[in-house]
Structure formats: structure tokens, C-alpha cells
Amino acid sequence: MLIGAFQAKTKGYTVENLRVLFNHPYIDAYKTSIEISLVTAVIGGVVGLLVAYAAIREGTPRWIRSALTTFSGVAANFGGIPLAFAFIATLGPLGIVTVLFRNHGFDFTQHGFSLFTKTGVELAYMYFQLPLMILVIAPAIDGLRKEWREASSNLGASQLQFWRYVGLPVLMPSLLGAIILLFGNAFAAYATAYSLTSGTVNLVPILIGAYYSGNVLDNPHLAQAMAFGMFVVLAVMMLLYIPLQRRAARWAK
């Protein structure tokens, strides 16, 4: 079945279609998609790490970790229309937070902020990127053996030195792997962006969707070529991901 998906794209593929991809608006779509994905992946990655660590480390009550994990399980699947609606309800022109700030004198819509731009999409994407990161990095944080921190402290190192020499290096493969996963996740997202912006923000999945909903159906092969382009980006991502996973597994012993 998976092979069928691939064949479908390559059948409709000629070099000419590929070349067209490098023009407006297609190349823009790719650029925007990549940018959004990168931003949400990195920020989501770093913040996710900090939040996950905050929940797992010693001193934090046990229930916080369980609550965070369950919530993340739901939130990571929370996309598309419901998510878009929730954000419009919060930060849209009539959103609760927007109105709140406006009533206190600060109207950020005047300052150029709008939910329906790239930044808005990024903000909304974080809602499922962050939980995904938390879920993926938690096992890696668990894998940081207590003995390492104790040995490091015993040998005279401060907390900061521990993280610099041992903690972060050991986490790095998992961290990078997770960020790559987040990238792929964001790149492929369609429903949220669509319902948020109704197609005004230029993203690759949306363009492809546009072709198939019948908006512009002159060249179906072009759509397939675009899909192929997406596939290439994602394949590169996978190629980076696998060796990182292997490295992380080795050190987890």
C-alpha cells in the first residue's frame, strides 16, 4: 500500500514539473513550510525539554508528571479545526486574550500582530509540537542515570558543569532526533493551517490540498510533483534521524 503511494507520485512526474516548482508561488510555499517547521521544531524542542525536565526531576511531585503526560497525549493529537478554533477564541480579533489586553490599553492587533499570519500559525502549531516533544524526550530524560549526577557532584562539579560535560552531550542525539521528528510533524500538518487561515498562508500541504478540492485543477501532475517534493524533504529528514536514534540507544545502556 505504501508503495502505491509512492508510485502514484512518480508516475506523474516529469522534469518540467519539477522545474516549475522552483518558481513562485511554489518555492515560496516550500520556504514558508520549511521555515515554520524549523521554528516550531527548534523552539518546541528546547521548551519541551525544559518543561519535561521540570516535571521529571527530583522534587517535583509525582502527579505533575502523570498529568503532563496524559495531557500531552491528548494535546499532541489535538489539531485541525478544534485547535484553530481554540486559538481564534484566544488570540483572534475578538479573542479573550486580545480583548483583555485591549481593555487595559494595549491593542496588539494595532501593532501588526494577527493570528492569521505565519507567526500565528507557528503559535498554534506549538500546541501540538510541545506535547509531542515532551512525550518523545521523557524516556531520554529518564535514561539520565542518577549515578551520573551523583558521581559528577562527588567529583566536585557544579550543576552547570554537569549539564555542559555530561547531561547535554548524552541527551543530544535524542534531542536532535526529537527535533527532526517535530520538523516532519510540522511540515506535514495541514488541517490546522487550513482552518486557521483558509489558505491565506502559503504552505505546501495547503497548495496540494487546493488542487484536489477542485480549486485549480489544470495540472494534477503538478500536484503530484509537489507531493514528491515534500517527500524528498521528509526523506532527508529520515536519513538524519536514524543514525541519531542508534547513537542514543547505544549510550542508554
Binding site: M1, L2, G4, A5, A8, K9, V47, V51, Y53, A54, R57, E58, G59, T60, I64, L68, T69, T70, S72, G73, V74, A76, N77, F78, G79, G80, I81, P82, L83, A84, F85, A86, A89, T90, I96, Y127, F128, L130, P131, V136, P139, S153, Q159, G184, N185, A189, Y190, A191, T192, S195, P205, I208, Y212, S213, A227, M230, F231, L234, M237, Y241
Partner: protein, 267 residues
């Protein structure tokens, strides 16, 4: 470092920020859902009533639920024996399958729809045109990564070889071993996988939309475009349903101390 008896201040800060970020949109949705359709002001539960009395709501919910059930059953029937077999006989295939499992996760639904539409073109109408056929097939593929990672973790946590050999030495056939010995031991992983699948099916929009079926997420989008505030009520209810599924996951998972790997991806 001395053992902390209380939460670290930096940890507290990050958790607070996270909580704020996650909860505010939900609260906002809730407040919106209380607004009346006529006056645009607070506060009425009329919207919730509207949802509950709407025929389309129950219709689409039923379709999605049945679809989810079908997907879960087919997936389990397909993947449990397969993964069991791989763990038992050909462990070298495991990384290959793990790689394959990552593909549906990463390939955008858009692209998948394209491929699937072409692939299933030749199939008879009863399969192609009904959600039970085409869409279920698509969802089984979509659920494959989650199924695999959960079940795989479950199989890794039990000693497959020893259990199987013990069962066989006591005279059991393959089917008996599978049902009486293996299945009960991976119960929590299988349940975790099932609930994840449920969440996916209940939230999947793209494929259903492009293939023009009337599932629950499609209904939500329709409401969103036509009505304003009731959509808020609907949103919260869909969140609630998914969350209830997840809580059940946790309860079940606790029996085995953790269940399977939990990955997710909603677009």
C-alpha cells in the same frame, strides 16, 4: 546535590508557563462556547444543547466511532500476530519494520490520499465508496506507527521466547499460545495502542475531507464554517472525548507500570 524535598523554582516556572499556554486556549474556547448565538454575549449553555440535539452530531459521531472500532480491530488482528512473529522468529526484520512504521507517520496525509485514491481505484464500489472500506483501510495505515511502537514496546518488555517455549513444552498449539499466553501479557500495550488509534480516528480530518466522507471531524468543520459559537462547544466536547480515552489509557497503563511508547501527531 542534596535531594530536593520541594520543587525547584526554575522547574516551577517552566511548568507554570506550560500550564498557562495549554490551558488558556481551552478556557477561551469554553468562554466562547457559552456565548449566545443571537446576542454574542455571555452566558448560556444553549450552544451545548444545540449540539446535543443536532442530528448531524450524532450521525457523524456514530460513523466515526464505528470507524474507530473497525480500525482498531483490523489493526490488532493484523499487527499483533505479525509483530509477535517478528520478535520470535526474525528479529533482524524489526528495524526494517520500524523504518516502515515511521513512513505513514511522516508522510503527510495529503500525499497519502493521493496515493491511496489511485491505489484503491480498482476496488469494487462497496469498498471504495463507503467509509467502512476505503477510509478504514486508510486509517489502518495511519494507525500503523502507533500500533507498532506500542505493541513493540510491549513485546520487548516480556520474554517472548521463554513464554512461547514454556507454552509449547506444555503441549499448546500456536493459536492457544497466542491467545492464552501472549495476548494477556501485552494487554496494556495493546490497549494503549487502541486508545491512540481511537484518538487518531476521532481527530483525522484531511483524508476524510479529501475523500468526501462525513465523519465527526468533518462535522466539526462544517459547524465551524456555518455557526460561530456552537463550534466552541463542539471543540471542547471533542477534546473531552479524546482526553477521556487517554485517561483510560493511563489507568490501564498503570497496571503494567507504563504501557507502551506514546507518540502522537495531530495535524
Amino acid at each position: 546535590m542534596k535531594p530536593r524535598r520541594f520543587i525547584a523554582p526554575s522547574a516551577f516556572l517552566w511548568l507554570l508557563l506550560a500550564a498557562a499556554y495549554f490551558l488558556i486556549p481551552l478556557i477561551a474556547t469554553f468562554l466562547f462556547s457559552l456565548k449566545s448565538n443571537q446576542t454574542g454575549k455571555c452566558c448560556t449553555i444553549h450552544n451545548y444543547g444545540w449540539v446535543v440535539h443536532n442530528h448531524g452530531f450524532w450521525q457523524s459521531l456514530k460513523i466515526s466511532s464505528l470507524l474507530a472500532l473497525e480500525t482498531i480491530v483490523i489493526s490488532l488482528a493484523l499487527f499483533v500476530p505479525t509483530i509477535y512473529w517478528v520478535h520470535l522468529k526474525v528479529p533482524r526484520l524489526r528495524p526494517v519494520i520500524a523504518f516502515l512504521a515511521l513512513i505513514p507517520f511522516v508522510v503527510p496525509p495529503i500525499v497519502m490520499v493521493v496515493g491511496l485514491l489511485r491505489f484503491f481505484k480498482g476496488t469494487p464500489d462497496w469498498f471504495y465508496a463507503k467509509p467502512w472500506g476505503f477510509l478504514a483501510g486508510a486509517y489502518v495505515i495511519l494507525a500503523f506507527p502507533y500500533m507498532f511502537f506500542s505493541l513493540d514496546a510491549g513485546f520487548r518488555s516480556i520474554d517472548v521466547h521463554t513464554l512461547t517455549e514454556a507454552s509449547q513444552s506444555l503441549g499448546a498449539k500456536w493459536t492457544t499460545t497466542l491467545f492464552k499466553v501472549i495476548l494477556p501479557n501485552i494487554r496494556s500495550a495493546a490497549l494503549a495502542a487502541s486508545f491512540l488509534t481511537l484518538a487518531i480516528v476521532m481527530g483525522e480530518f484531511t483524508i476524510a475531507n479529501l475523500a468526501a466522507f462525513n465523519t465527526f471531524p468533518i462535522f466539526i468543520q462544517y459547524v465551524n464554517e456555518s455557526q460561530g459559537f456552537p463550534a466552541g462547544a463542539l471543540t471542547l466536547m471533542s477534546f473531552g472525548i479524546t482526553w477521556a480515552a487517554m485517561l483510560s489509557l493511563l489507568v490501564v497503563g498503570r497496571k503494567r507500570g507504563g504501557g507502551g511508547a506514546v507518540i502522537a501527531g495531530g495535524r
